[in-house]
Symmetry: C2
Subunit: 319 residues, 2 copies
Amino acid sequence: MGAGADRMSIDVLVSEVGPRDGLQSLKAIMPTEAKKAWIRAEADAGVPEIEVGSFVPPKLLPQMADCEELVRYAVTIPGLHVTTLAPNLKGVERAVAAGAHKVSIPVSASETHSQANVRRNHAEMLQEVRRINEMLGELPEERRPVFEAGIATAFGCTMEGPVPEGKVLELAHALVEAGCREVGLSDTTGYANPAQIRRLVRMVRAEIGEEKLTGVHLHNTRGLGLANAMAALEEGITTLDSSLGGIGGCPFAPGASGNIVTEDLVFMLESMGLNTGINLDRLLKVRDVVAEALPGAEMYGFTPEAGLPLGFHPGWGTT
Amino acid sequence: MGAGADRMSIDVLVSEVGPRDGLQSLKAIMPTEAKKAWIRAEADAGVPEIEVGSFVPPKLLPQMADCEELVRYAVTIPGLHVTTLAPNLKGVERAVAAGAHKVSIPVSASETHSQANVRRNHAEMLQEVRRINEMLGELPEERRPVFEAGIATAFGCTMEGPVPEGKVLELAHALVEAGCREVGLSDTTGYANPAQIRRLVRMVRAEIGEEKLTGVHLHNTRGLGLANAMAALEEGITTLDSSLGGIGGCPFAPGASGNIVTEDLVFMLESMGLNTGINLDRLLKVRDVVAEALPGAEMYGFTPEAGLPLGFHPGWGTT
């Protein structure tokens, strides 16, 4: 949580993943100082949670090589919840050493994608999750981050096509058994539609318990991102990942955009009177910080271009 | 209805308004033959209804000067439902003479916008609606188009800001009393959010009867278009206006985009197993027809850029 808000008063937790998911998809490497300025500016705007990077080998993703420094910096910002991604035990150990509040491990529902992404199949990933859980169990509680698995390609895979829901349910169950405190559902490929979101969220929550599925990670690849976000919210989801300017996506597929756009998401939520703890005017200004540090990168989002409506105030659509 | 579908089998009626709402917002004038090619191509893709133009004085909107010729052409396409906009009695008379199946009159909930748009206040517009209704009543039934009022700025006005819901309810009631068979709600300014859509649709339907409010007209100005469309559908709305490539919007406000994008809307609906009667592959090809006729015009939409998902088929997200 940033400067603005009391975490308890938040209706929907917007988790900024741009410094991780956005930047890892771009060829350009953002300087560490610019990343810090971005993280600071979003926290100052009231963004309660930021995924600052990924603990992957720098050889694979040089864009993420400064993850440790970013975690160490971000945890000094009062109230900010600092999360990172880590694909394996070693990555989680690094996250713990740096002091991250939460670590997510991506586990792909599609075996083909799992192999491509982390070079492991489901059985191997579950074994890794058990080892991580064991390691975390030996830590004193105050140093133990929340350990979550993000089920990637939960709504379809660019290599396999449709992913059977049964496979997602099975994986969610196994991940909780193996020690994950929470499981998230990721529409890594931007394949999902609102009906599918509703159904899968409902099924997984029935399988593992409502408190163990509270977040979804959506992409706006086919323009359905906010419609999918609404569907998730209406099924009880309370954490939504998003990326400032929707940065990310694949540089080789024009329009294959990144995550849902933080600015548009926050405008939607605040319009409806759902408190995010975020100050929209300040959030919109963060865009300049990112644009300056990523010259030429495509940024998405309609609200930043159109501006806020005349007479807008949070919850204005509720009376 | 175009070549593809049986109107009775359609779950959601996608009404293409690009040739009217899209083109009237652009400075460029699309040649009549290009408009015909667009209309034909969309009808061939199965689009069941197209708003082909607006019967406004050509001096005010030269882009719409060929509306009569377009109606005469479009009604020859088997099964296509041909609609037009008309701001007054004279326009409706021209629509009737050309043989339009449906005519919409825009009546703005905001008096300020009403004056700016049609130079008339509510009382004057209601008087006009009564005169139109009288004229239509004298026609033989087979020549009488469906007469609808579109309540513009129903969710907020760029000149007045928030628009009281009571004013929209009152206006909807008065328009039905004055003889409109249906009333639509238009988010002319892209101010709406899903909660507001749900509430206002519910209130207006309770006021005038469900069968008299079946359609909404949404803009994607702040990126919430498809989320708003979902909210409307879940409240029982069955007709959604959209524009191919989301063309339109204001040329002086970058990103202040036009209507929701037909391609993304149809992808969303068909993904969910809601039959639109539209063939997505053919629809995506229509974009070339429009792009060629409007060189340099900004076109929106994510699905056309990203392409359809691997293994996609209508209703794939429903099993």
